[in-house]
Each structure stands twice: as structure tokens, then as C-alpha cells.
Amino acid sequence: MHMADALLSPTVGAAMWAVSAGGVALGSARLCRERDDRLAPLMGVLGGFLFAAQMINFSIPGTGSSGHLTGGLLLAILLGPSAAFLTVASVLMIQAFFFADGGLLALGCNIFNLGMIPALLVYPLCYRRLIGSAPGRRREVAVTMFSALLAMQLGALCVVLETAASGISALPLDKFLLLMQPIHLVIGLVEGAVTLAVVSFLRKARPELLTRGSAPGAVPGRVVLASFLVCAVLVAGGLSRFASENPDGLEWSVAKVAGATSLSEHRTGLGGFLAALQKKTARFPEYQAVPAAVPGSASASATTAPQASTVAGKGSAVAGIVGTVVTVLLVTGAAFVLRRSNRAAVAPEA
């Protein structure tokens, strides 16, 4: 499930970008150190393989729907965590640029949810630890299924948290969770089953392919753990700061606890700056619209004019609508002029 730009606040987006960029930098550095120049083409074509795999479906018995591979865990088993992470990240990047799947700002979130979680978290810390050196069939089934499920659940959870922390969607956290987690339970089961089946196939056909991921040194246990701690702190910092800036974003859980008292103190950095700008100009600041929040934030809203929100709302609404129409006309006009002048510029050659 791809996170989308339109649901993100810049703070959450930027925090996740920082985390993912850190992961990519770390992964690349590790890879360079490994000095296996076979990896570059291999990762490239395996990324292509992920695309190809997504073109192919299988029908899930009894449901009438179909599923396909997502691939994070499978790649980690084949390539080891760093290479698998970079491969998934590159696939997501292509999707962001060409298919606008997600979007550029959401890329950070998506790389985290779909790449980091399965390859850098679940694989080294769960799969590798549990699977042992010579697993029996039953153990392999159990561990693979569990890992795939875990990765999917964590991914879905992150989508929910990121959305909630951004506060663009009004979907309450509990409802959203109830929606996302069961869906991803099914997706996780499918992922586990496919990963298991493909790994068994490879074990029969080319067992030597399965040795790379489990090669000694391929599991950067401590590094991963440390970087995840850093990530967690970063994210938690970003989220909590944002939560205090924008109580509406987490109103169902943080309720009105943060209130007006903490509002002005935590406004720092990009998010704070933009939020401040937003306060200055916004016509429908949410703390005015949500009656319960009005008393607490009266001082904060003093900068903006409307006291009787309906009246002002009406006036600004009319202005907004008229303005929108005019803007659209202007934009279209500009495009028209640009195109004309462009054609004129090319015409002499043609």
C-alpha cells in the first residue's frame, strides 16, 4: 500500500525522507565495502524481476480475488538485507517518478514501510534469528509465514501512523487500523506463501543461490539495530513535535491535552515555520472550526480576523470561489500564451 503525498504533512514527509535517505546512504556504504561488483547488475535485474512479478497474479482459492508478490522478504533471503533494501527502494523510486505511485514526498514513507521494514528490520532481527542454520521444513514454514505477516503488519501500521500524524485525513486512528490491519493480514499470508514456495523451488533448482543472503557478515545485526534506534528517535521526535503543533492531527488520541499551552513553544524548524505561516494566512484554521478547541486557542487565533466564523466564512468563500475561477482563467491564459510564443519560436526552423 503506497502512502501518498496528498495525505502527508511536510514534517512527517521530511522526517521519513531523512530516515530513508539515511538507510539508503548506509546501505550503499555497506555495499561499497563489500566490493562484490556482481551485485550491481544483479540488484538491477532483480528489481526488474519485482516489476515483472507484479504483472503476474494468482487466484487465491475461495476468495475470487488474486494476489501477487511484493518481494521485500524474498529479496532479503536471496541478497541479504542491504542489497535487498536498496533494490526495493529503487523500485519504489521508479514508481514514484513514473507512475506517480505515492509521490515524491511520500517516497520516504514508502521506502521505510515497504523496504526498510522487511529487509532491514524483519529479516535480520526476526527471520534470520529464528530460522537457524539448518531449518526443518516445519520451522521454515512457520518462520517465513510469521516474518512475512510481521513485515506486512508493521508496514500497514506505519501507513496508518504516518497518515494520522499528518492530520490531513479525518479518518480516526482506530477505524483506520481496523481497516488496514486485517487487509494486510491477508496480504501478509499471501506474501508468506509465495515467498515460501519460491524459496522451495530455488532450493531444488539452484541451492547455491540461497547462500548469499545468509552468508556470514550479511546480517548487520548491531548496525541495523542501532540505525533503527536512531530512526525511531528521529521519527518519534518529528511526530511528537508535529503532534504538539497540530493537535487536530492526533486529536483522538492526544485529545486536547496538548492544548494552547504547548502550541507556541514547540514551533521550530521547517514544520514550525510553515505552520506559523499557515496560521497567518489560513481562512479555516481548524481550532476555530472545532468548537471545543476555540477557547484554548483563542490567543493563537487572534492574528486572524474572523470572530463569527460563519459570516467570515461566507465572505471568504465567495471571494475564494471567484478567485479560484479567475486564477484558473489566468493559468489557462498563461499556458495559452506560452504555447503560442513557443510555437512562434520554433516556427522559423520548421
Binding site: Q54, I168, L202, G323, V326
Partner: protein
């Protein structure tokens, strides 16, 4: 399957558009990437009920599309098709947020509808900007721009390989899936067993291809690093481009352009 296949065709199409030769095409990719990033950050930094202030931002993609002589209809259709997730989540807003924020005559508009509309507009803006960037620059150039903006080289290399072999493998996968389809009738035979085995075969062949590619690369002096790409110039035009757009975005972020215009107009029309 159809969606990925269509996506690949789009990819080829966007790539061909990037081969165009207009002033905006010729700009250093870094300038375009930077301007687009500023644009996206500004757009998503608006509050959830903001709508009219977003509209002026369309000036950016629209101008670039016009100046780059990109097929507007095609890009618009693409924008309309994507981001189902954002829309799906956004459509919940009217259900949960029923506070009436605006009265238009007898029509009450709730916060939910307002924020939903806002999500739709944001989606259109961010998606249009991303696609325009790609169509004006091409993926390879974007990659190189990102490298020069600090992306690790190993990752860039990986992206370039992926981009090159996407088509080859997608076609291979497409043919294999078609072969299975031809011999399975309806839903019969398209289950997990044949799926996993098919993927396994595909994976084996992918692996062999990687081995051959590696051989080809070694044969041409590959030593684990890619030679540096030719340098573009971040000149006055690039600086002007980035500064102009960033300034415009920040102004539009600070002042609701649409509403100011509207007040101007309605001010004269009592």
C-alpha cells in the same frame, strides 16, 4: 497485469517526451528537481481545509507543460487515474468530519468535504508536478541530478540498471504469464503452485541474465564503479529558474492568491 503493462508503456512514453528540445528541457536537471521539491513541500504544507489557496499552484505544472510542449491531455488523463489510495482515504473525511464550515446560501459545506476536495487538489498538484518533472527531464538525468545533489552513487547505479532492465524483464514476465494464461482455463490452473513455479523460473533466468551482464561489463573494463557522467552546468538560467519559482511558491504559500484576486474582483462588484 494490465496496470503494470500500461505503466511500462507510460514509462516509455514519458521517456520519449524527455527527448524533446525546448528551453525547459535544456535546463540542468538539478534546477527542475529543486524547484519541484520546493513546490511539493509548499503544496503539502497547507492546512487540511485549505482549498482556494492551492489553486494558484497549478501555474507551475501548467507553465512547464506548455513551455515544454508536453501533451497536456495525456498528462491530465494520467493524473486523473493515479493515487487511488489518497482518494480512498480522503473520501472518509466527509464521513467523520461533519462540522459545517462554510455556508453558501442554503448549501452547508462540511469540513470533511472541504478537506476531501483539498486532498484531491493536492493529489492532482503533486502528481502533475512529478510527472511533468519526469517528462521534461527523463529518468536517467533525474538520477544524475540526484547524485550531484548527494544521492549515493551505488544507489544511482542500481537505479540505472533497474531502469534499463525493467522493459526486458517485464516483457519476459509478460510472455511467461501469457503462456500460463493460454493453458489455464478461467481460474483453473492459475493458483499458487503454478505461480510460484513460474516465478521461480523467472528468477532463475533473471539470475542467469545478471551473470551474463556482469560478464559483459567485466569484458569492457568494469571495476565496480561507473565512470562519471558528463557534467551539466548550473548557470544563471538555472539559478533564475529556481529562485523565481521558489519565490513564487513562497508568496503563494503566504498569501492566498486566489482569494486576493477574488477580493479584488468582488470588491469592484458589490
Amino acid at each position: 497485469m494490465a496496470s503494470v503493462h500500461g505503466a511500462l508503456l507510460d514509462l516509455k512514453r514519458l521517456d520519449q517526451l524527455a527527448a524533446g528540445d525546448t528551453a525547459v528541457h535544456r535546463l540542468d536537471p538539478r534546477a527542475k528537481v529543486l524547484a519541484t521539491l520546493v513546490f511539493i513541500v509548499c503544496v503539502v504544507s497547507f492546512g487540511r481545509y485549505e482549498l482556494s489557496a492551492l489553486i494558484p499552484f497549478f501555474i507551475f505544472p501548467v507553465c512547464l507543460i506548455a513551455a515544454g510542449r508536453l501533451p497536456a491531455g495525456y498528462l491530465a488523463a494520467k493524473v486523473a487515474l493515479v493515487a487511488p489510495f489518497a482518494i480512498a482515504v480522503g473520501i472518509c473525511n466527509p464521513l467523520f468530519d461533519r462540522t459545517v464550515l462554510v455556508h453558501l446560501g442554503t448549501l452547508d459545506i462540511t469540513g470533511g468535504w472541504l478537506s476531501f476536495a483539498s486532498i484531491v487538489v493536492r493529489t492532482a498538484l503533486t502528481v502533475a508536478a512529478a510527472l511533468t518533472l519526469t517528462a521534461l527531464t527523463g529518468f536517467t538525468s533525474i538520477c544524475r541530478a540526484l547524485v550531484r545533489l548527494g544521492m549515493p552513487k551505488a544507489f544511482a547505479m542500481q537505479l540505472l540498471f533497474l531502469y534499463r532492465y525493467l522493459f526486458v524483464l517485464a516483457e519476459e514476465g509478460g510472455r511467461a504469464s501469457r503462456a500460463r494464461e493460454l493453458r489455464s482455463f478461467g481460474r483453473k490452473g492459475s493458483g499458487l503452485a503454478s505461480y510460484a513455479s513460474l516465478l521461480g523460473h523467472l528468477l532463475l533466468r533473471t539470475w542467469q541474465r545478471a551473470e551474463r551482464m556482469h560478464m559483459a561489463m567485466l569484458a569492457r573494463g568494469y571495476t565496480g564503479t561507473f565512470p562519471a557522467a558528463q557534467v551539466g552546468r548550473f548557470g544563471a538560467r538555472e539559478v533564475a529558474f529556481v529562485l523565481f519559482w521558489s519565490a513564487l511558491f513562497i508568496i503563494l504559500r503566504l498569501y492566498n492568491g486566489a482569494e486576493l484576486l477574488g477580493t479584488l474582483v468582488t470588491g469592484y462588484l458589490p
